[in-house]
Amino acid sequence: MTAPSLRRIGLAVAAPALAAGVALIISSIVLIISGSNPIDAYSDMFNNAKKLETSVDILNRATPLYISGVAAAIGFRMNLFNIGVEGQYLLAAFFASVAGGAVDLPPVFHVALVLFVAMTVGAAWGGFAGVLKVTRGVNEVISTIMLNFIAVGGIIAWLIVVWQDDTGQVNSGTTPIPESGRMPNLNSWVEVFTREISKGRELTGVLLIAIAVGILYHLFINRSRIGYEFRASGYNPFASQAAGIDSKKMVLTAMLLSGAVAGLVGMVEVLSENFRFDQSFVKGMGFQGIAVALLGRNKPVGIALAALLFGFLNASAGALQVGGTASREIVVIMQATILLAAVIAYEVVNRLRQKDEARTAAALLAESAS
């Protein structure tokens, strides 16, 4: 391997390393100010993560974050800021739960129906913002934020009462999905390599869906013709239009696809954990997905690493609480500082790389001149 290419790899690794370092320093300062010992806190987090059960927990938490990150990234690649992943996944999970609880089908078909409903509802809600943008020029940031409110505060809040399961529970929710509509866990797959997973932890089968989403995202964006049109529109909409790429169609496709993927975000909860949509359904995944996509630079593998990191931090919150070494809120501060540091680090490294390119080109020119 030659020296310049080593240097290039070095630069590529430098950005996340730099970001992590800065985030650690800032978090340590915050921990010290709040009266905790940072070293104790970090060692608690790592010791906890070493446990098999925690690893399963991290994967379970990373799965929806990854899907959410991909949903956001699809928009980002076209310079569309889909803030609406939040509303899209919640609405999708709600309708998918209702549909799953209302029917009785053979196992595979039952799960497929839930997934189909989730993707369709997500796509429709995302497509709504897309239609508003291409026909009326409504900025997608505004429309998706508003659609989030309509979805959560309007449709779900209203229908969850209308359609609630009449078991008289305090926490009103939809009818639970029967056994046939649940995703089997992957514990037996993991246990081939490890000891038995205890404490009733189950590795979600939705992980497989997330992996499939990642592969399809890669093939679509980087390998397909329409993916090329997509990226071209994102790079330069004017040039793309002059080249015969219909930008309106691209915007609409992006919002539909982003919404369809967003629809899958809630599936861990619906198919593997809770089997119904109730008042305590996990929220905020859509916004965390934006952070994960930014941190992962919209790349399939990058988003996966970012999702694992955020999953690890989320999983650590409990350990810190239980261990009493720090308050669980430190995790949110760490996520925010990592993101901020990453954005800055990417920019710094980008400038270094450009300088590098200039030097290389200058050397090339000098060589050819002599």
Binding site: R223, S224, R225, I226, G227, Y228, E229, R231, A232, Y235, N236, F238, A239, S240, Q241, A242, A243, G244, I245, D246, Q354, K355, E357, A358, R359, T360, A361, A362, L364, L365
Partner: protein
């Protein structure tokens, strides 16, 4: 005589290029100093360094014989250096006076002192012989007048050294003469002028001293009396001067593009293209001349399909494409070189092979079923790199790393190598160096020889006359003259473009 400005050993590197390599330039007080060179030679970079917009990597700048450090245009203005950019920076909806004082308003008790401003403006314009009306709205002014406002803006801020970046590029010949009169007056009043140009006859006419830059290096500083235009050109290019001669006629009877009574309206429902009809045949180059803003852009947009006409028809080899999508027209054999390659022609952050595919990505070698053919795209790009002499280390570099001329060669290469039937080229050599310009002309000529029908829109009158088989003149949205390029001069053409002369055919 003392030097107003001296640049010594200036070096500036950008990603992928050395823009300036040990450049030296000395401007005496009270002289008109021309800086010539091909585009991409590094003139604009040098001027940006002198105006404090970019710091040099190496070298020193002296103003009035003392060394200075410029970290912003504010520093340069402080030292009496002012710059008039090629693209005017005026607010259309403000008056001349408001534009001039913008950013340096004289204040009295927290309120703009309009009387003082007006007085100062009148003093400046009289001292330098530049006539403007302070209360005219800028949007009502002609291009030449706007330029005068830009110059006054600079003088108003106390500039004694003026940098004019390609001031004649936007002017018709008559306006150029007015500008040169203004420049002589400025010089008589004691100002020093550095101006960038690559029209050699203009340089020889107005300059006291000429510095030639080639590939980022100063190659010569000469007096206009000692050199001919031919000598200058050789200094600039380092070889013989190319000329856009189209050669023998290859025009056939086969009509490729037919425009019939085409009318295009703008957002305010004004006819910006007004009842235009013409034909382009296979093997023919039809040139469209016109001062910018007379409907050429809208005409192009209607032909390529990004704008839809109000009435009239456009047909390609007999097939009506008036309302076809851009994609359909592309697939029917339309190729297009846009007037602004950064805005409309390139994906600047994408590698070259992704750029090559743009506009042709629905056909081989760029596509294989539903997949984008990365191998085919890279091969085609390599081929274009060889055939069209695109200078780049490899095809993986992003398009922004190439110089303007090489970007243009890439665009031309990707369009011509797609075997088009109709070629719409808007300002194909704007802002590129003489070497690349010659290559572009050669490519267009070869394509014409192969039977391509070409519509050429250009502001370079020599290019229009040299390449075209027929020249149409557009004025206020109408075709006002159809001319034979063999019988006209750029001066004649300028007269038609400004409406001074009226074509016999049109009258």
């Amino acid at each position: 005589m003392a030097n107003a400005i001296e640049l010594i050993g200036i070096t500036k590197r950008f990603p992928g290029v050395i823009a300036n390599d040990n450049v030296n330039l000395a401007v005496e007080r009270g002289e008109i100093h021309a800086v010539c060179g091909e585009n991409g030679a590094g003139k604009s970079t040098l001027m940006k360094i002198l105006y404090g917009m970019q710091p040099p990597d190496e070298g020193t700048i002296k103003v009035n014989d003392s060394e200075v450090k410029l970290s912003s245009p504010g520093d340069a203005i402080e030292l009496g250096i002012g710059m008039v950019h090629q693209h005017f920076m005026l607010a259309d909806n403000l008056t001349v006076m408001e534009n001039v004082i913008l950013g340096s308003e004289p204040m009295k008790r927290g309120i703009i002192d309009l009387d003082a401003a007006r007085q100062h403006l009148v003093e400046v314009s009289e001292a330098y012989g530049l006539t403007v009306h302070p209360d005219d709205l800028v949007e009502t002014l002609e291009v030449g007048e706007r330029q005068r406002v830009e110059i006054i803006k600079v003088l108003y801020r106390g500039a004694e050294v003026l940098i004019l970046d390609e001031p004649t590029a936007v002017l018709v010949p008559q306006e150029v003469e007015a500008l040169f009169d203004n420049m002589r007056d400025l010089k008589a009043a004691g100002a020093s002028i550095i101006f960038i140009d690559h029209k050699l006859d203009e340089v020889l006419e107005i300059a006291d001293t000429i510095t030639v830059i080639r590939q980022g290096r100063t190659v010569a500083t000469v007096k206009p009396d000692d050199v001919t235009a031919h000598d200058l050109a050789e200094l600039m290019v380092g070889s013989e001067l190319p000329s856009p001669q189209a050669g023998e006629s290859t025009v056939t009877d086969d009509v490729a593009l037919r425009i019939d009574s085409l009318t295009v309206h703008d957002a305010d429902e004004r006819s910006v293209v007004d009842d235009v009809s013409f034909e382009v045949r296979r093997g023919e180059i039809v040139g469209i001349a016109g001062v910018e803003g007379n409907g050429q852009t809208e005409l192009i947009n209607a032909i390529i399909g990004t704008d839809s006409p109000r009435s009239g028809t456009i047909s390609l080899f007999g097939a009506d494409i008036t309302h076809a999508s851009v994609g359909k027209r592309r697939e029917a054999g339309l190729a297009y070189v846009p007037q602004d390659r950064h805005q409309e022609g390139l994906l600047l952050d994408a590698p070259l092979w992704e750029n090559t595919a743009l506009g042709h990505h629905t056909r081989p070698p760029f596509t294989k079923g539903i997949w984008f053919d990365r191998v085919g795209a890279r091969e085609r790009t390599e081929q274009i790199r060889r055939d069209f002499d695109v200078r780049t280390p490899n095809v993986e570099v992003p398009a922004h790393a190439l110089s303007g001329g090489n970007q243009q060669k890439l665009i031309l290469g990707k369009e011509i190598s797609s075997h088009p039937k109709l070629f719409v080229a808007a300002h194909p050599t704007r802002g590129i160096d003489v070497g690349a310009q010659a290559a572009v002309w050669q490519d267009i000529r070869e394509a014409r020889f192969d039977g391509l029908a070409t519509l050429l829109i250009s502001a370079d009158l020599e290019e229009l006359i040299g390449l075209s088989d027929t020249v149409l003149v557009m004025l206020r949205g109408k075709i006002v003259a159809t001319l034979d390029p063999a019988e006209i001069t750029p001066r004649d053409l300028g007269a038609y473009m400004t409406g001074v002369a009226v074509s016999e055919e049109a009258s």
